[in-house]
């Protein structure tokens, strides 16, 4: 009997296809390229992949009954990873399930590097062949270039193929040279400008800059949500997908998603700047280790299991055509080297724009994200490590958590004894994003609503807290308390729950434990840290005193803490435009030593100790 197939379409966007009965809506969406958020990789835990289904589907699962409200169930809302196709159906994908990040950071502060790109335009005048001599155009060209101080050791066939046509238009030519490789030959001495692109492939977000490599100016900046979010929120979930859920084509699929996203970015950059993509000859690529592997189409699976083996450190120089990138076919992609198994080229790039080797005073670099990375420089040594902080900073494991989208509570302060907050785009509150979460926890801790162990105190014990705040406490039968923050559109309260505080404690302890282990390794006392750099988009929403109050950073004077934003992209840009920066990145990749913290016998004690909040001074 032939398999019954049903038509399923997804709105908005009207993508549809026929699928066998029993296919989950998530699988159907993935096959159609409909990108629905799925932080937990389809395990039925995160509840982010809600869709409204018109038409019959498989019965509700226990997980759905747990995660969906009765109102949602009445409306036909399902989790797309749970609901299976039983008949023709139309699925409405709500905006909340397809995240576009509102406040994405693309500017990073960086030390200015001298403009001296590896990519050069060499203008040449070639002489004519004199009858009777032995003369070949290509060899003559190479000879002239060597005489001009631009020796070439390799070139693609396409250069030879275009040579006769170029020379028919005249003997003045411009050679596009990357280090000692001749990439292209163009007629005339006034060839149009050449461009480069710096790309940071983040787990959540991709960011890119288009730079005029003739002048050294940034001409356009763009960012884009990482479409792989549809497969899983974090890198581990994505590896799980390619290993377990789609072993046949998962790698290819994830690779294509990144390449497509980079190409979308390039197209947008080019459109903004009025530049043709085939004028782009160089692209520098950075990302965490797993993202970089996926962007290069290399299987990162071995990275997620002991002994955590990356396939490649790099740097890699790859022809653009091999990656099907939307740039000049002979352009080059330079993937910056990784530092260690979970400390990727994005961190190498960050270090490239800092000056950690100067003076020898202890300096710390922390990149706060789903995965935290830490680098410590002291006494001529530089060591690094990483620590999985989990998705709390992105609001994923938080009851009323939300990514940084319109309506997310992003800032909160206690003013005149009560909490005041602002939401992104000044929209009615829908939930709490990472920066709002940090603000709330810090403020409630300062006001005595939360104690050092992380417990939300019951009203009778929160004697130091202002009355208005105490009235926000909701006591549960178990004795645990939650805190009412704001009314949601459906009349329920947006709560900061006791459980959420625990998630914050876990996330910050992971980062802090990484820092502590590095400090012990080089025998540096926190007070000796001269400069602390906090990188990453999330870090930019932090305040120094909050980072210390939370215990995320050790106790250091706030003025020594510097927030450097998306320094990874700034580093990728530096390597794009400066030979010195590229060499520095290559030097750092050799110099920085990786420390595996989880292997340290003291790790567990340090981690547990870091879960508590510091005492309030």
């Amino acid at each position: 009997m032939p398999e019954t197939r049903f038509t399923v379409s997804f709105l908005p966007g009207h993508r549809s296809g026929k699928f066998p009965s029993g296919t989950t809506l998530r699988d159907a969406a993935l096959q159609l390229g409909v990108l629905i958020d799925s932080t937990c990789a389809g395990m039925g835990r995160c509840g982010q992949c809600r869709v409204e289904v018109k038409g019959p589907a498989s019965p509700l699962t226990a997980l759905e009954r747990e995660l969906l409200s009765p109102q949602e169930i009445n409306k036909g809302v399902r989790l797309s990873c749970q609901a299976e196709i039983r008949a023709d159906a139309v699925c409405l994908v709500p905006e909340t399930s397809t995240t576009t990040i509102a406040s994405i950071l693309v500017e990073g502060q960086a030390e200015v590097q001298e403009f001296d790109p590896d990519l050069q335009l060499v203008k040449l005048s070639l002489r004519e062949h004199r009858l009777g001599e032995t003369f070949f155009e290509m060899e003559h060209l190479l000879q002239v270039m060597a005489q001009r101080g631009a020796p070439v050791t390799s070139y693609p066939l396409s250069v030879v193929q275009t040579l006769p046509q170029v020379l028919r238009q005249g003997r003045d030519v411009t050679a596009v040279v990357y280090r000692d490789r001749l990439l292209a030959l163009e007629s005339g001495r006034e060839a149009p400008a050449v461009f480069g692109v710096a790309v940071d492939v983040g787990t959540t977000t991709l960011a890119a800059k288009l730079v005029d490599l003739s002048e050294g100016q940034v001409v356009a900046v763009a960012s884009e949500t990482n479409p792989q979010r549809a497969v899983g929120g974090d890198v581990i979930a994505r590896v799980h997908y390619l290993r377990e859920q789609n072993p046949q084509n998962g790698l290819k699929y994830l690779h294509r998603l990144v390449i497509r996203a980079i190409n979308t970015l390039i197209d947008r950059l080019c459109e903004d700047a009025g530049v043709s993509p085939d004028r782009i000859f160089k692209l520098t690529l950075v990302g965490n280790t797993i993202m970089q592997h996926l962007a290069l189409g290399v299987d990162p699976s071995a990275l997620t299991e002991k002994p955590y083996t990356p396939a490649v450190k790099g740097p890699l120089t790859v022809p653009a055509a091999e990656l099907k990138l939307s740039m000049h076919p002979q352009g080059v992609v330079y993937a910056i080297a990784n530092l260690g198994c979970f400390v990727g080229s994005d961190i190498t790039a960050v270090l490239t724009v800092l000056d950690l080797e100067r003076g020898g005073a202890p300096q710390l670099v922390v990149d706060i994200g789903t995965n935290g990375e830490m680098v410590l420089a002291a006494g001529g040594r530089i060591i690094c490590t990483s620590s999985p902080a989990g998705p709390a900073w992105e609001g994923a494991s938080i009851e009323w958590g939300t990514p940084a989208v319109a309506g997310a509570i992003e800032r909160a302060r206690v003013v005149d004894g009560d909490v005041q907050f602002t939401t992104i785009a000044r929209q009615p509150a829908i939930g709490i994003c990472g920066s709002g979460l940090v603000d709330l926890v810090c403020e409630f801790r300062r006001c005595g609503l939360i104690d050092a162990s992380g417990r939300i105190l019951p009203p009778e014990r929160a004697v130091d807290a202002p009355d208005a705040l105490r009235q926000r406490l909701v006591a549960r039968e178990s004795g645990a308390c939650d805190i009412r923050i704001a009314p949601a559109a459906d009349g329920r309260w947006i709560l900061l729950k006791q459980k959420d505080i625990r998630e914050v404690q876990l996330a910050k302890a992971a980062i802090r434990a990484g820092i502590e282990i590095l400090l012990r390794e080089l025998q540096v006392k926190p007070v000796d840290l001269q400069r602390v750099f906090v990188a990453g988009a999330f870090g930019n929403h932090l305040r120094g005193e909050d980072a210390v109050a939370l215990g995320l950073l050790p106790e250091i004077p706030p003025e020594r803490i510097h927030f450097i934003g998306n320094a990874a992209l700034a580093g990728a840009e530096a390597v794009l435009t400066s030979k010195v920066a590229r060499e520095k990145a290559e030097h750092l990749a050799q110099k920085v030593a990786f420390v595996e913290i989880a292997e340290k016998p003291e790790f567990q004690d340090v981690f547990v100790e870091a879960m508590r909040f510091p005492e309030i001074i």
Binding site: L63, I236, E244, E305, R502, Q505, A598, Q604
Partner: protein, 211 residues
Amino acid sequence: MHKELLQQLAQAVIDGNKDQAETLTNQLLDAGLEAKAILDNGLMPGMDVVGQRFRDNLIFVPEVLIAARAMKASLAILEPLLAASNAPQVGTVVIGTVKGDIHDIGKNIVIMMLRGAGFRVVDLGIDTPAEKFLQAAREENADIVGMSALLTTTMGYMKTVIERLKAEGLRVKTMVGGAPISPAFAEQIGADGYAKNAAEAVDKAKALLGV
């Protein structure tokens, strides 16, 4: 008199007061109480409260571990006596973090809770291959094999262990837990039990053994 001291011992565990727990344990023994009675009526009620508070999020990992430290100090005194007296145990659990995974904080809390509930627990540590689970289950005459994993990429190994246990014909119950594990996954790989947290793990282990 005993009753009061036992209550104080329970409170010492709840408060994580290690010295107090040791002193009280010795006092109770000096007063002629049996080790089993001290375990059942002092330590276990204390750990029960700790487990319940942890489940309700009233206390967190550091407080549980501090309580566990106090319990461990008392148990260290009681264990030789328990072994000598041949007092019946609730059951024996061999437990480990599965191969490829080195995360063990959660597993260690489960171990504490199980010990606090009177189980004999053999800790196989981290990165445990199937052979080690098998060998320990046999040698320790285990009632339950417990497996923990923190990564979605390593949880699949639980299935390997369960299949090996079945293939070797070992009559032992299996329990799984860890951040990425769901009840559906546990069922799918043929585990006998799943627990969301350490306190639930104790209830589940008891239920599996019918105690």
